[in-house]
C-alpha cells in the first residue's frame, strides 16, 4: 500500500506550485492515502492532493487558511499507527527528544512532522520519524536554499519502505529507507 507523505507547500505565498517533475510523478491510481503535514495554505492545494488520492489527511500548519484542520492526527495504515503533526508546536523545531515526546503522547509507530523544510527520516528508540521536507522547496524561517522533497511510504505487513524523492539540480533523486516494526 502506498502512502504519500508531503507538506509545507506554502502555495502561493512562498512558491508558485509543486515542481513539474514532481507533478509528473504524482499520478492518480497508485497512491492510496495522503498524509500532509500542513501549511497547504490554500484550498486549491488541498484540492490538488484530492486528485491524487481520495483519502487525504491534513494537520494544521502555522500559515493555514483553513483553521479547521486538527493539530495532530493519528492514522492507522496496515499494522502501523502513524501520527501526524506539523511541528511548529514542537520546540526546539525538529528536535528528536521533543518529537519523541509527541510520539509517546500519540502512542504511534511512525511520527510524521514538518515545518523544518528539511527531509529527515530516522529511527529513534525503535520508532520511526519522518520529516518529508517541503514538496515545493519553499523557504523556511532560517534558510532559503531548500531542496524540494516528499516521501512515499510502501507499507506491507510489518515493514515500511520509505522512498524519498528529492529534486536536486532539476533531477529527481530517489532514496530508499526500510523500517521494520518489532
Amino acid at each position: 500500500m502506498l502512502v504519500l507523505v508531503l507538506g509545507d507547500l506554502h502555495i502561493p505565498h512562498r512558491c508558485p506550485g509543486v515542481p513539474n517533475k514532481f507533478k509528473k510523478l504524482l499520478v492518480p491510481g497508485k497512491i492510496q492515502h495522503i498524509l500532509c503535514t500542513g501549511n497547504l495554505c490554500t484550498k486549491e492545494s488541498f484540492d490538488y492532493l484530492k486528485t491524487l488520492a481520495s483519502d487525504v489527511h491534513v494537520v494544521r500548519g502555522d500559515f493555514e487558511e483553513n483553521m479547521n484542520y486538527p493539530e495532530q492526527k493519528v492514522v492507522t495504515v496496515g499494522q502501523f499507527r502513524i501520527g501526524i503533526c506539523h511541528g511548529h508546536q514542537v520546540v526546539p523545531w525538529g528536535d528528536t527528544e521533543s518529537l519523541a515526546m509527541v510520539q509517546r503522547q500519540l502512542d504511534v509507530d511512525i511520527l510524521i512532522s514538518g515545518h523544518t523544510h528539511k527531509f529527515e527520516a530516522f529511527e529513534h528508540e525503535s520508532k520511526f520519524y519522518i520529516n518529508p521536507g517541503s514538496a515545493t522547496g519553499a523557504y523556511n524561517a532560517l534558510d532559503s536554499e531548500i531542496v524540494p522533497s516528499f516521501v512515499i511510504l510502501d507499507i506491507q505487513q510489518s515493514t515500511v519502505v520509505a522512498y524519498v524523492y528529492k529534486l536536486i539540480n532539476e533531477e529527481v533523486k530517489v532514496e530508499r529507507i526500510e523500517y521494520k516494526k518489532n
Partner: protein
C-alpha cells in the same frame, strides 16, 4: 439422469423448480432401475432403425458412468445447489461402474490409430459424457502428441513452461529490490523497465480481466468459486502478458471457462475412479500417464496450454481496429459506389471472415436468406462477431457447447468448421428470419433461440462444407421454437407469472376443463385432434432450455401463433420450409427411393407425409381458433396450451414413430410364416394400442392402466382384426379420419373398444391437466402393459426381422393413413430420425423409464435377461 438434473438446475435455475421436482420424482422411481438408463440408446436405435447400431458393450456401462461422473464432479464443485437427489441416486450405481473407467480409457486411447477414431467419435457428439474429454481436447488441439508415450514428457514440459511464465510475469516489485536501479525501482517511476510501473500496469490489466471473469457464466455455480476465478485471472493475465500485441480482449474469458470446466470434471472423475480403485484395471504405464495428465494440481497449467493453443487459431478473430469505420476513414472518392460499409474496412480479419461467410457460404447454401439479410442490411458483424469469437459460447447451453467444441476441435486445428456452423445456425433460423422484419431479425440473431439438437449443427456444417462426403442432415427448422423466440421478448411480463401458476394447478385445471368442454361438442374427437394439430416438433430434450415437461416460454407463444395465424400463413410457412431445405425434386426422388430404401435411410418416412398433411393442418388451426374461449385469463390459458402442445408434440412424435415401425413390422410379418404368429400379432396389437393412446385417437383412462386383463382381451380382438384384414394392416391405426373415428373397427370390435375408448369427462381432464400432463403425456405413465417375458423375446425377434428384409408395401399404407391422422406431422417431419434419435438419447430419462412403450420395455428387459 443425474446429469440431466444437475444440468437442468444449473442451466435453467429456479424457474424449473416445478419441473425438476417432477423429474426428481421420476428419478427416484427410476433410480432402482439404473441399469435401464443405459439401454435407452439402444432402444432408440432400434426404434428408429437407422444410425449406427451400437455394437460394443461399453455404452451400456457408459451411461451409468456419466451419471456418476457428473455427480461426483458436480458434488465436489458444488456446481449444483440441489445435490440431494442426485447424490443419493448415484449410490446404487457406483458398483457397476468401477470397471468402466478403464474400459472407456481403453476404448478411446488404447487402439492403434486411435486419434482418428477419437475425432470421429467427437464429431458424432459421443464425447458428451466421456470422462476423458480434456485429454481428447488436448489431443485435438495438439497440446498432447498422438504418440502417447510422449505424453508424460510433453505434459511436464508444458507445465514447467507455464510455471516459468507465471514466475516471470507475475512480478512483485518489492522482491526485486537490489537488482534494479532505484531510479527505476520506485513506486512512482513511469519507466517501462520499472517493476513498479509494470506492477501497476499489471494490476490494471488484472482488474480488467477480473471484471469479465466474475461475470463468466454467472448461472453456473462452478464459476462463482473464488479459486476458479483466481485461476482464470491468472491464466488470462499470463496469456495477455505473453502476447502483448493482443493482450486481453473481452471474450477470451468465455473461451477459457469451458476448458477449465472440462478439465475440472475430468479431474474429478479421475479422483473418483482412483477412490474406487478402478484404476487398477488399467495397465500400469497407462495408469501412470492418466495420473500425470489428469493431475488436479495442474489444472491451471493445463488450462493455459489448451487456451493458448485455441487462441493461436482464434487470435486473428480478436484483432480488430475498428469494426465500423469512422466517417473520417471513409474517403468518398476512393470508395466504390454501392459498396457495403464492411467492405471498405478490410483491415479486420473477423470482418473479412464474416463477410465471406455471409457473401459466399450463405449465398451458396441459401440464396433467399442471403438476399433477405442483405436487404435488411443486417451485417454479419452485428451478431456474428460474438458467435465466432466465443466459438458460439453464448449461443448454446454449456453441455451443448462442449459437444459443439468437441466437433470444432476434432475437425481441425484451424477450426474450419466454425464458418459452416455459423451458416448452419443461420439456416436453422431461416424460415423465421424470412418472415420477420429488421428489429425482430436482430433480436433473434442476438439472442439465439434455444436449440434442441446440437448435433444438427455439426452434421449440417459438415454437409455444407463437403456435400459429397457427408449426408445431408434432415431439415431441422422449428417453427415452434422460432415463434417462441419471436414472441418471448414481446411479452416477458406474461411469462413471469406463468411459471408459478402452472404448479398451482387448481385454476388451471378448471381452465383446461373449460377449454375442452367448449371444444368438445364440435366433434367428438376434436380434443385429441387439436392436440395433434397444434403439436410441434419441439425437441424433447431436457438438456436444452426447452423441455417437454417444463412450461418454457416457448410453449406459450407457439399457441398464440397457432390461434392467430391465418390458414394461408400457415400453409405458406409449410411450403417455404419444404422448399428451403429440400427442393421439390428432392422430394420426388425420395419418395421414389423410399420403397427400396434400407432401414437406415434417414429421411424416407417423413417426406411423403409432409405433403399429405398440409391441408389438414390449416383446418386444425381453425378449430383451435374456435376453441379459444373469450376469457380475459388468456395468459393462463396460453400457458396451459403451451404445456399441452409440448405433450402433444411429444405424443405425436412417439405415435408417428410407432406407427411407422409397426407398419414395417406388420408388412414384414405378412411375408413370413412364423411359429408364434398369434403371439406376435397380439403384441403388435398391444403396441398399436399404445400408439393410439399416444396419438389421442384412443382415449386413455385410468381403468386402462389398472387392468392388464382388459388389454389381453383387446389383444385378442386386435389379433382377429389384424388377421382378418391383413391386407390393410393399418386400418385400425387410422381411425383418425375426421368424420368416422371408428372407421376401422366394425361390429364386435366397436363394443370391445368401448372398454378403452373411454370418453368420460374426467378422463380427458386427467390427461389434460397440466399437473399430470407430464406423466400422462410422456407416455401415460400408469399404463402398464406388463408384457410377459416370452412375448418380449418374440418382439426382439420381430425387431431383428425388421432389419432382415424390406417391405415394399410399407410406403403406400403409410401415405394413405398419414393424411387424416398426422395432422401436424410436418412438424414431426422436421424431426429427422437422426436428430430425433440423438435427442432421445439425452431426452429425459424419466420419460424413457416411465414410458410404457413396449419396444422400450422389450429392450430393457432383454438387458436384464
Amino acid at each position: 439422469m443425474e446429469k440431466m438434473m444437475s444440468k437442468l438446475r444449473s442451466l435453467s435455475g429456479s424457474k424449473l423448480n416445478t419441473l425438476t421436482s417432477s423429474v426428481s420424482k421420476a428419478t427416484t422411481s427410476a433410480a432402482s432401475s439404473n441399469t435401464s438408463a443405459p439401454s435407452k440408446e439402444d432402444i432408440l436405435s432400434t426404434l428408429d432403425g437407422f444410425g449406427e447400431k451400437i455394437q460394443d458393450p461399453i455404452p451400456h456401462e457408459d451411461n451409468n458412468n456419466i451419471n456418476i461422473r457428473h455427480t461426483s464432479s458436480v458434488a465436489s464443485v458444488n456446481s449444483s445447489s440441489c445435490m440431494d437427489t442426485s447424490a443419493s441416486d448415484s449410490e446404487p450405481t457406483i458398483t457397476s461402474i468401477t470397471h468402466s473407467y478403464s474400459l472407456e480409457w481403453e476404448k478411446l486411447f488404447m487402439k492403434p490409430g486411435y486419434l482418428r477414431h477419437l475425432k470421429n467419435y467427437a464429431l458424432k457428439g459421443n464425447l458428451r459424457s466421456s470422462r476423458f474429454r480434456s485429454i481428447a481436447w488436448k489431443l485435438f488441439l495438439e497440446v498432447l502428441p498422438e504418440e502417447s508415450t510422449q505424453w508424460l514428457n510433453r505434459t511436464r514440459h508444458m507445465r514447467q513452461k507455464y510455471m516459468e511464465l507465471k514466475d516471470k510475469l507475475i512480478v512483485n516489485p518489492r522482491k526485486a529490490v537490489d537488482t534494479v536501479d532505484l531510479s527505476f525501482n520506485n513506486p512512482l517511476s513511469q519507466e517501462d523497465e520499472s517493476p513498479w510501473n509494470r506492477f501497476f500496469l499489471d494490476n490494471e490489466l488484472r482488474l480488467t480481466i477480473k471484471q469479465d471473469v466474475i461475470r463468466t457464466f454467472p448461472e453456473i455455480q462452478f464459476y462463482r468459486d473464488d479459486g476458479v476465478r483466481e485461476m482464470m485471472i491468472n491464466i488470462l493475465f499470463c496469456y495477455a502478458r505473453d502476447h502483448p500485441e493482443l493482450s486481453y480482449r473481452q471474450g477470451m474469458h468465455e473461451l477459457l471457462a469451458p476448458m477449465i470446466f472440462v478439465l475440472h470434471c475430468d479431474h474429478q472423475a479421475f479422483l473418483h475412479a482412483s477412490e474406487m480403485e478402478s484404476l487398477e484395471e488399467i495397465e500400469p504405464s497407462s495408469r501412470e500417464r492418466i495420473r500425470c495428465v489428469l493431475d488436479p494440481k495442474y489444472l491451471e497449467h493445463d488450462a493455459y496450454a489448451m487456451f493458448a493453443q485455441v487462441m493461436q487459431t482464434v487470435e486473428p478473430w480478436y484483432v480488430s481496429k475498428e469494426v465500423y469505420p469512422t466517417k473520417a476513414d471513409l474517403d468518398p472518392t476512393a470508395t466504390q459506389p454501392f459498396a457495403k460499409p464492411q467492405d471498405l474496412n478490410p483491415s479486420n480479419v473477423i470482418v473479412t471472415k464474416l463477410t465471406r461467410i455471409q457473401d459466399y457460404l450463405l449465398k451458396k447454401a441459401d440464396h433467399e436468406l442471403h438476399v433477405h439479410l442483405e436487404r435488411q442490411e443486417i451485417a454479419p458483424q452485428i451478431y456474428g462477431i460474438r458467435w465466432i469469437r466465443l466459438l458460439f459460447g453464448r449461443e448454446f447451453p454449456m453441455q451443448d457447447l462442449l459437444v459443439l467444441w468437441d466437433a470444432i476441435f476434432a475437425d481441425s486445428i484451424g477450426f474450419d468448421l466454425v464458418d459452416y456452423i455459423f451458416v448452419a445456425m443461420l439456416l436453422y433460423l431461416r424460415d423465421h428470419l424470412l418472415s420477420i422484419d429488421y428489429p425482430s431479425c436482430l433480436i433473434t440473431l442476438m439472442r439465439y433461440p434455444p436449440v434442441g439438437d446440437i448435433h444438427y449443427f455439426i452434421d449440417k456444417a459438415r454437409y455444407l462444407r463437403d456435400p459429397h462426403q457427408f449426408p445431408r442432415p434432415p431439415t431441422y427448422t422449428y417453427q415452434s421454437v422460432q415463434t417462441a423466440e419471436r414472441f418471448s421478448p414481446a411479452q416477458p411480463t406474461e411469462m413471469a407469472p406463468l411459471k408459478p401458476s402452472n404448479s398451482s394447478s387448481g385454476t388451471l385445471q378448471s381452465l383446461t376443463r373449460k377449454l375442452y368442454s367448449t371444444s368438445r361438442p364440435k366433434t367428438l374427437t376434436a380434443p385429441g385432434r387439436q392436440k395433434l394439430s397444434k403439436s410441434s416438433s419441439e425437441p424433447m430434450n431436457l438438456q436444452t432450455d426447452i423441455s417437454p415437461v417444463s412450461p418454457t416460454p416457448g410453449a406459450v407463444p407457439q399457441h398464440k401463433r397457432g390461434s392467430s395465424a391465418s390458414l394461408s400463413q400457415v400453409e405458406d410457412s409449410v411450403f417455404r420450409s419444404v422448399q428451403s431445405h429440400s427442393s421439390l425434386g428432392r422430394f420426388e426422388t425420395q419418395s421414389l427411393q423410399s420403397p427400396a430404401t434400407t432401414p437406415d435411410n434417414v429421411s424416407i418416412p417423413e417426406s411423403p407425409t409432409r405433403y399429405a398433411t398440409m391441408p389438414n393442418r390449416g383446418k386444425a388451426k381453425k378449430q383451435v381458433k374456435q376453441a379459444v374461449p373469450p376469457s380475459n385469463t388468456e395468459v393462463e390459458l396460453a400457458s396451459v396450451r403451451g404445456l399441452l402442445h409440448e405433450k402433444q408434440s411429444m405424443c405425436t412424435y412417439c405415435a408417428s414413430k410407432l406407427d411407422h415401425h409397426i407398419e414395417r413390422l406388420q408388412a414384414e410379418l405378412l411375408h413370413q410364416v412364423l411359429k408364434n404368429e398369434d403371439e406376435i400379432m397380439v403384441a403388435i396389437a398391444g403396441i398399436k394400442q399404445v400408439r393410439d393412446v399416444l396419438k389421442g385417437t384412443l382415449r386413455w383412462s385410468q381403468n386402462l392402466g389398472n387392468a392388464d386383463e382388459d388389454i389381453s382381451i383387446s389383444d385378442d380382438h386386435y389379433k382377429m382384426e389384424v388377421a382378418s384384414s391383413s391386407t390393410s394392416p393399418t386400418t385400425d391405426s387410422s381411425p383418425g379420419a375426421l368424420d368416422s373415428p371408428d372407421r376401422g373397427c366394425q361390429g364386435n370390435k366397436a363394443t370391445e373398444k368401448r372398454l378403452f375408448y373411454v370418453s368420460s369427462e374426467e378422463n380427458s381432464e386427467a390427461i389434460d391437466s397440466p399437473s399430470e400432463a407430464g406423466a400422462v403425456a410422456v407416455g401415460s405413465g400408469p399404463i402398464n402393459f406388463g408384457l410377459p417375458v416370452n412375448r418380449i423375446v418374440e418382439m426382439e425377434d420381430l425387431n431383428a426381422a425388421r432389419y432382415r428384409g424390406k417391405d415394399k408395401r410399407r410406403n403406400s399404407p403409410s401415405r394413405g393413413k398419414s393424411g387424416p391422422n398426422n395432422v401436424e406431422s410436418d412438424f414431426s417431419n422436421s424431426w429427422s430420425p437422426e436428430s430425433g434419435h440423438s435427442e432421445m438419447d439425452q431426452s429425459p430419462d424419466s420419460e424413457m423409464e416411465e414410458s410404457p412403450n413396449p419396444l422400450y420395455r422389450i429392450r430393457h428387459s432383454s438387458y436384464n435377461l
